[in-house]
Symmetry: C2
Subunit: 214 residues, 2 copies
DNA sequence: GGGTATATGTTGACGCTGTCAAGATAATTT
DNA sequence: AAATTATCTTGACAGCGTCAACATATACCC
């Protein structure tokens, strides 16, 4: 819509009064600032400065700082799902391997982006009633739900046992991701990547439903 | 040491220039403020006001705000262990029941004190190199380690498999506690307390070592 | 096209925050 | 009793998020 109006061809629009793509630029600046400073030292003014814009500019696009964090958390769930899909594609197609891949992708995201993981799962600042955040959060949850359902070959919404399985899988990979993201399982991080992944896979499998009686 | 010097017999010492027990009072005020406001809205000045003291008084006892949060997190690990011991005492004495009790106590603490749980496990503000925090944190970790070792009847430090078992148990109860503390497993919290606990026990057992080959 | 409305960004101010320095007061020591 | 130390208050400072007022660019409408 604004592509034909903007004279500069690239994304370099510094110096112009109207930025043209500030909303996205602010989100990327916020993501970088989050990774650098962590969520507890995050500052709206520092984000604005990083984006090369005045301290009050973000208000026009996100309202207040929590609005920006809401949009950023939504982006976080997108990154989570991307990490999981990456694992899904390279994993074997059987339901067990696919479910393990979902868990490994979850842990990948947590360890690669600990601050973003915190924002998405351990912060009250994003507004989870906002549809823009609630929707991707639900999508991410459904990925795990579908993975478990594929294992059981049942519908997840009705069966209480399947929901317990989802809780089990989710809690296990979430706990692993959270503890690894905060560097609390030292011995695991001291292993090689292959050894570590083998241990993680073995642990993730424990959370799966036993399936013997079905 | 100061008991004989302080004329007022009770803990009510408001109005006097020297408080007499400010360090403990500040910690309790901080705990109450943390429960009320959450860690992200926590304010040192509000804590001082709650303790009935000037905004700069905490500095003499804790240095800066992170020093106070370090002491508060140490208190959090004490509460965690207290919750676990409460469960241990009322559980059956066999190793499996005791280990499940440790997990339920962990979850009890997380759901009863979500903000304190966040401070102890998901915040970078407390200084975990401080011996006053590192020590109780290690004690809490060792409780789980001992519980798993009792199950295996092996020494936890040497055996890599036991450390994987500890990681498994820890991640599972930590994940359950974290997700429940942030209200993300809605269907579990919709159950009665007995039903919920039954599901939790079943899930916790999944994280345990299988033990069949030993 | 031209003029007006709207969207977008800046500036300055406000109260709040954590921290520091300086001063006041109580407790301890000598 | 005097001096020292520990404890608490006061006042200042920069940085924070938010708001109102203003500036400028884009979009819309005739």
């Amino acid at each position: 819509m604004n592509e034909k109006v903007v004279p500069t061809s690239k994304a370099e629009k510094i110096g112009r009064y109207h930025h043209g793509n500030l909303k996205e630029t602010l989100l990327e600046a916020a993501q970088a600032e989050l990774a650098d400073q962590g969520i507890e030292k995050l500052s709206l003014r520092a984000i604005a400065k990083r984006a090369g814009v005045s301290h009050a500019a973000p208000a026009h696009h996100f309202g207040d700082v929590n609005g920006l964090l809401t949009a950023l958390a939504a982006r976080g769930f997108g990154m989570l799902m991307a990490a999981q899909k990456l694992r899904l594609d390279t994993a074997r197609p059987d339901p067990v391997s696919q479910l393990v891949a979902l868990g490994l992708g979850y842990i990948d995201f947590a360890t690669a982006n600990p601050a973003m993981f915190r924002l998405a799962f351990s912060s009250k600042r994003p507004n989870f009633d906002d549809p823009g955040l609630h929707e991707p959060a639900k999508l991410a949850y459904d990925m795990l739900g579908d993975g478990v359902s594929a294992l059981r070959d049942q519908s997840p919404a009705s069966d209480l046992a399947v929901m317990a399985d989802v809780a089990s899988m989710w809690a296990m990979v979430h706990g692993l991701g959270d503890l690894l993201a905060s560097g609390r399982i030292k011995y695991l991080q001291a292993l090689t990547a292959e050894e570590c992944e083998a241990v993680l896979i073995e642990i993730i499998r424990r959370a799966m439903p036993s399936l013997e009686k079905s």
